[in-house]
Symmetry: C2
Subunit: 190 residues, 2 copies
Amino acid sequence: MAGKSKRQIILEAAARSFRDKGYQATSMRDLADAISLKASSLYNHIGSKQEILRDICFDNANRFLSGMDDIDGQNIGPLEKIKALIELHIQVATEDITSVTAFNDEWRHLEDPDLSAFIQLRRNYENRFKKILETGMQTGVLTPTDPTVALYTLLSSVRWLYDWYKPERKPGLDLIRQQITSLLLKGLCQ
Amino acid sequence: MAGKSKRQIILEAAARSFRDKGYQATSMRDLADAISLKASSLYNHIGSKQEILRDICFDNANRFLSGMDDIDGQNIGPLEKIKALIELHIQVATEDITSVTAFNDEWRHLEDPDLSAFIQLRRNYENRFKKILETGMQTGVLTPTDPTVALYTLLSSVRWLYDWYKPERKPGLDLIRQQITSLLLKGLCQ
DNA sequence: AAAGTACGAATGACTGTTCGTAAGAAAAAG
DNA sequence: CTTTTTCTTACGAACAGTCATTCGTACTTT
């Protein structure tokens, strides 16, 4: 029933440590300590520290991209798509806080060619999002504004969710989701 | 006319490097190279690497706090205060991009007691902001929502400005300021 | 017998910082 | 205007420590 491979355990401990201290400040000895191993033993399960970061970053990138595939493929209006995308971000950010942190803050410590590949993925995602916004403005369902400004204001506001969201705190997840989407959609429309 | 002390030059180079690579990944030798010095020479002008970070973080914290003092002290309604605060964030984030980056991302590498002091300053700022939001909701000028959710959504959306704002790019600063404040205020009201 | 895993020791590279020293600028004294 | 003293700055060498990673070896599970 345990079923978690040691590799997975390492990845999760790494994500947690990257969140708390950052990639550079996390030593392989710290990481090994956290799961009661010695640093040299880690290398029986992973190839390098950089490989850990790469796995975390691209795993999370794919969660966003496959979410985008789902939503953008549906036959619904741009407003519904944007609402679904905002909820996707809230969903991903709250269901696996540690990974998303690493994904948000630590990707810049990737080394080329991974760094370039990651930036490329990100850009693609943003462009698809922006296109949906533009469609919404053309069909009149959104207030015409600069789509870049709208896009980044949107993305930024959900990007830091992991930073202040505490699962045990008062405003429950449902309330948060409802109020954030409401605030942003009201801001975009009319 | 030059007038820039070497200390200031070091601080600015450090802010730039912290933005590009992070505090931990910036070595004193990197930093010295960037301004054509040797690492040991830096210590004629600064006390330690940690002191550089402290200066950058608290300098920027004070810019926000004194802005808050100005705005909160004026005899205007909560809506006008919020508008002014959003514009303050946009102003600070765009006029000194590098410092704000360090301020946003690198403060967690402060060591105690500075770390605690910084967190305290930040919390005070957020509480004052939250109180303005609550006043606005009580007087009916803002839609009643959870003030914490509203606060962080607001702060987050301007927090990442430095990340995508490019002074030379198409949407000019005036347009950006106008559209962001419009989007957020529309989202909060009614 | 074979494969997978954990460990200690060692590697070379890099870290922030200190120190003695030498060169230069500024200030003081002649 | 000189000469001498003081202050500031830059540098190379060295420090003790940490870093990711490798390797040979032993233990455990197939």
